[in-house]
């Protein structure tokens, strides 16, 4: 019996020993993934102070993000890993909140206990993650929020996008694709979701510039591919060929659902535009099956966020808000450029 016990204890310690091995391994596949061609896109606002590697000081920065199981967040994490490799003056500690607000708050506490120099927060919940802001403030650790923000605005800086402008850009892309006149349909996200409200507002605002475009119907596809297929199937049945010119979706998954429905019904003349810049959508643009997508350039936002944090740690005044631009993707070249960037080749 004792031998068995010993064996079990041993296997347990082996399991425990695994993580030291895994810890370093985990970084590897992500790290060389990007040789960061992001730098060449210097059209973005670059109020970045030159990296201060001179002092040889390394800032340890904790990063808590939304769940890594989502493609968009994974892109973000890859970008952060690349930045970690590229910049000598930072060491990023990346933590996955796994879609639990409670875990995100705990992770922030853990990072505070680790005495990190600064914390980057990609918050999970507008209301729920606010306690993290309090915790950072109480610990005197500078907090930069990126891509999403909390209700509690007691953070140093928010780095992200103006969500409404993505709606404007999507509508502009659709208008361009149909020659600024025709019948347009809108696929909304989950009604009441902040992305739905803001993207919808952007689309509505852009529509005012196109007197010859008629917004025929607006339905919710709940940000879901399958759900949007159901909605579009119904539209296709209701409106015969020629009565639908374009479909603008609040995210790419719904746009892809619309694309599938149109393909199945042989109505490929319909121009489809999405928002997000998912890999699948980029591929669809390359294949000519989607008219375009509005890409959330999260790699750039990550860079701005990290640079802002370094600037704050260097003693500069926080900028409070830094907005990055979306990228309109409606050509094969543009789509290919980002697809390559994100596939990491």
């Amino acid at each position: 019996m004792k031998k068995r016990l010993l064996g079990l204890l041993l296997s347990l310690s082996l399991a425990a020993g695994m993580f030291t091995g895994c810890g370093s391994k985990a970084e590897e596949p992500a790290a060389p993934a990007e040789s960061e061609p992001a730098a060449e896109d210097s059209a973005e606002p670059s109020e970045t102070p030159e990296e201060t590697q001179a002092e040889g000081k390394v800032y340890r920065i904790g990063v808590s993000t939304q769940a890594w199981k989502y493609e968009f967040i994974k892109n973000m994490v890859n970008a952060l890993n690349a930045l970690d490799d590229e910049m000598d003056n930072i060491e990023l500690i990346l933590v996955d909140s796994e879609d639990s607000v409670e875990k995100q708050l705990s992770d922030v506490d853990t990072m505070i206990a680790q005495k990190v120099d600064g914390i980057l927060l990609n918050c999970l919940s507008l209301e729920g993650s606010s306690a993290a802001v309090e915790a950072c403030k109480a610990a005197g650790i500078p907090l930069v929020e990126f891509i999403s923000y909390t209700e509690n605005e007691d953070y140093a800086t928010f780095v992200g996008t103006d969500v409404k402008s993505s709606g404007i850009m999507a509508m502009d892309l659709a208008a361009e694709a149909i020659g600024e006149s025709g019948r347009v349909f809108e696929l909304q996200g989950i009604v009441g979701h902040t992305a739905q409200i803001n993207r919808g507002a952007g689309i509505a605002e852009a529509l005012e510039n196109y007197p010859d475009i008629e917004l025929v119907e607006t339905q919710s596809g709940e940000f879901d591919k399958n759900k949007s297929m159901e909605v579009v199937d119904a539209w296709l049945a209701k409106y015969p060929a020629g009565q639908i010119d374009a479909i603008v979706a609040h995210n790419d998954q719904m746009a892809l659902g619309a694309m599938n429905a149109c393909k199945a019904a042989n109505r490929t003349e319909i121009k489809i535009v999405g928002i997000d810049g998912d890999g699948e959508a980029l591929q669809a643009v390359i294949d000519g099956e989607m008219a375009g997508t509005v890409l959330d350039y999260c790699e750039e936002e990550c860079r701005l966020a990290v640079e802002e944090m370094v600037s704050i740690l260097d003693g500069n005044e926080p900028k409070k808000e830094i907005l990055a631009d979306y990228v309109a993707i409606n050509t094969v070249e543009k789509a290919q450029e980002f697809l390559t960037l994100r596939s990491g080749e």
């Binding site: 004792k2 030291t20 796994e98 409670e102 875990k103 729920g128 606010s130």
Partner: protein, 328 residues
């Protein structure tokens, strides 16, 4: 004489290991992390871990009672969310009615759990299916009540239930007791006393151990089961309140997936899935093991994908070790 004493000593160690296998595993895991990360044993981190385990701890002791009756409750996540949302909404509409709002929240979770209790105890539907039904109903109900959006809690006392300390830690060099751990301790004591010191507690074990024998000896198994699900519902409500305080809002999707962590803690803690067996001390250590694993792996900077694999392996190892030591 000398050798005999030594021998005896070694036997003693083995005996201890056998009786306290779980505690040994827990200490072992802690030691690994303490060596791997200098932060692990700092005061802030320990306090952080204690606060982190509280919600799961409250849910786990409730889950343990249900599992001892031979049942299971998959609906605990939405039940907790209901309590948070109901109380947050009440507070939003009428400021300053903290106590009634919180009680109403807990009550609403208890009421929903009556559905599971009825299905399992009266209708004799398998607990897995019955609680799956409740899970879906509660998920829907809480979305309806909340209208699908989170509701911010402004009441400072309420948010302190999740974020506060017994006394200001800055005055005592970071040493303080987080409120959630107090709530967890209180819940654990109440459940412990109920299980070990009351007739109802003995009936819970009897129902799970051998239902027919329990019936034969005059135990009202229907009532015992029903009460246990509702008791669990109350605990879910309490956990939901702590969670809502922690995330400073009543969120309809809060605590989703928490049933798995609770069940894991109970199982790691040595409770038998077939019912009739289970100790509160085991569950508490189970909760601590999971909490320490979550914290330690984050501290070591292990990628979250690997974290889940490691957690799975360690859970299986802990249960295996516990089983083996018990058999002998």
């Amino acid at each position: 004489m000398k050798t005999e004493g030594k021998f005896l000593k070694r036997e003693n160690v083995a005996l201890y290991v056998r009786n306290y296998a779980l505690a040994v595993i827990f200490i072992f895991v802690c030691m690994v992390f303490a060596i791997a990360s200098p932060t692990f044993l700092t005061m802030t981190n320990i306090i952080g871990v204690l606060r982190q385990v509280s919600v799961n701890g409250i849910l786990a002791v409730g889950m343990m009672m249900v599992i001892i009756t031979g049942g299971i409750d998959l609906s605990i996540g939405p039940l907790a969310a209901t309590a948070g949302v109901v109380s947050a909404l009440l507070l939003e509409k009428n400021e300053g009615i903290l106590v009634p709002a919180v009680l109403a929240g807990i009550l609403s979770a208890a009421i929903i759990s009556m559905w599971t209790g009825m299905l399992v105890a009266k209708m004799r539907i398998a607990p897995f299916i019955a609680s799956l039904s409740t899970m879906s109903i509660a998920k829907g109900v809480v979305l309806v009540i909340a209208d699908g959006v989170p509701h911010t809690i402004k009441d400072k006392t309420y948010t302190n239930i999740g974020n506060g300390f017994l006394w200001d830690p800055s005055k005592t060099g970071g040493l303080s007791i987080p409120i959630p751990i107090l709530v967890f301790t209180a819940v654990a004591i109440v459940v412990g006393v109920t299980l070990y010191k009351t007739r109802y507690g003995r009936h819970i074990y009897a129902v799970g151990g051998n239902e027919n024998a329990a019936i034969a000896s005059g135990v009202n198994t229907v009532r015992v089961k029903f009460c246990t699900y509702v008791f669990n519902g109350i605990l879910c409500g309490i956990a939901g309140i702590v969670l809502a305080g922690r995330i400073t809002s009543g969120q309809p999707t809060a605590a989703s997936g928490y049933e798995m962590d609770a069940i894991t803690a109970v199982i790691v803690g040595g409770t038998s899935m077939t019912g009739g067996v289970g100790r509160i001390s085991g569950t508490i250590i189970g909760v601590l093991i999971i909490g320490v694993l979550n914290n330690g792996l984050v501290l070591m900077g292990v990628s979250s994908y690997y974290q889940q694999i490691i957690k799975g392996v360690i859970i299986a190892a802990a249960v295996l070790l516990d089983m083996k030591t018990k058999k002998n």
